[in-house]
């Protein structure tokens, strides 16, 4: 089961990387107000059951990937295919 976990700063938390990125984009001529940066982990869980996969992923966030002090996370099941093959 391919699962996608996004770990992002909680609302209200100041995002220094986003801040610097926004400034650089503006320097390059883009009109952008605010940028938030988050991290996405795409992983293949052995579990074949979506619900179980989500629970496992949430547990991973709690134990390693997210920091309750500053991060929120979201979990999404992408299905059984390989993540790499998805294109926008």
């Amino acid at each position: 089961m391919i699962v996608k976990i996004e770990v992002k700063l909680k609302p209200g938390h100041f995002d220094p990387e986003g801040d610097v990125t926004a400034k650089s984009l503006r320097d390059l001529g883009f009109k952008v107000e605010e940028v938030k940066v988050s991290k996405v982990y795409t992983l293949n869980l052995l579990s074949g059951n979506a619900e179980e996969a989500v629970n496992q992923a949430k547990d991973m966030c709690k134990k390693l990937l997210a920091n309750p002090t500053k991060d929120n996370f979201t979990v999404e099941v992408l299905g059984l295919e390989k993540a790499d093959n998805k294109k926008s």
């Binding site: 220094p16 990387e17 610097v20 990125t21 650089s24 320097d27 390059l28 940066v37």
Partner: protein, 265 residues
């Protein structure tokens, strides 16, 4: 040019941190050196300088990618001046984060003159995914560039690295062949007994393709390298003093070659 008339400029922005050491060694060699923040540099004329150094550090926190933000700032603020500088055959040296900046801005490897802002290579995360601080062994691959005037092709050097993103990679095999053919690969990681590192950790500390530690532009007046020669300048900086403490380290020849080039220029 007489050395007393020549000047080097070490650029910096927030997060840069190896500027003072570089000034220290350049001035030790008699080359007067200014350290300029980008905010000061845009008010000055780069034409007053014979050498430009992009030092190590974590410019802008290495946000987005190592060197990316600073490189775009140069693009928007110093593009013209820098292109002229390189075109005139003056020296540009990027060390560590400075190398990352030169790659991100598209000067290296590139054709050497184009400040395009579109990189054709990258210094990616070390294979170990860790920051690595260690002394590495290097082989000089070209002695025809201004920075290596005092070195011989095939010579081994010992210089330390300190980086988390130093794995040099190119877009294709062809790009690598091209780079080698044009003698743009100037430094490669080797083992302590001078055998090829063949990508193996820790001799190749980051997993760079073809064990590349440093490259130059076609003309050879722009060089970028991951190791820090300014940390291997004096003998007392070496990790092992052996039976007798040497006066200087291997890094000295690189700076001295540059200074000699400026004298002749």
């Amino acid at each position: 040019m007489k050395l007393c008339d020549a000047k080097a400029c070490v650029l910096r922005v927030g997060g840069t941190n190896c500027d003072a050491e570089i000034k220290w060694v350049l001035e030790d060699l008699g080359l007067s050196t200014d350290i300029l923040h980008m905010n000061q540099a845009i008010k000055k004329d780069l034409a007053d300088y014979q050498m430009l150094v992009f030092p190590g550090g974590f410019s802008y926190g290495d946000y987005v990618r190592a060197g990316a933000i600073w490189s775009r700032e140069i693009l928007t603020k110093l593009k013209k001046d820098l292109e002229i500088f390189i075109d005139e055959g003056k020296l540009v040296l990027g060390i560590c984060n400075g190398f990352q900046v030169l790659v991100e801005i598209g000067i290296l490897p590139g054709d050497g003159e184009n400040v395009s802002g579109i990189p054709t290579a990258v210094l990616a995360n070390n294979i170990s995914a860790k920051y690595e601080c260690r002394w590495v062994n290097l082989k000089v691959e070209s002695d025809r560039i201004p920075f290596f005037g005092l070195l011989k092709k095939g010579q081994a050097l010992q210089i330390p690295i300190g980086h988390g993103e130093g794995r040099f990679i190119l877009q294709s095999e062809d790009a690598l062949t091209e780079l080698i053919k044009n003698n743009q690969v100037v430094l490669r990681y080797i083992s302590p007994d001078c055998a090829a590192a063949e990508g193996k950790y820790p001799n190749n500390p980051n997993g760079a393709v073809y064990d590349i530690a440093g490259i130059c532009n076609r003309k050879g007046n722009v060089m970028g390298m991951m190791p820090h020669p300014e940390r291997a300048y004096f003998g007392w900086q070496l990790p092992s003093w052996g039976k007798e403490l040497p006066k200087f380290g291997d890094g000295k020849a690189i700076f001295e070659s540059a200074v000699n080039y400026i004298k002749k220029y």
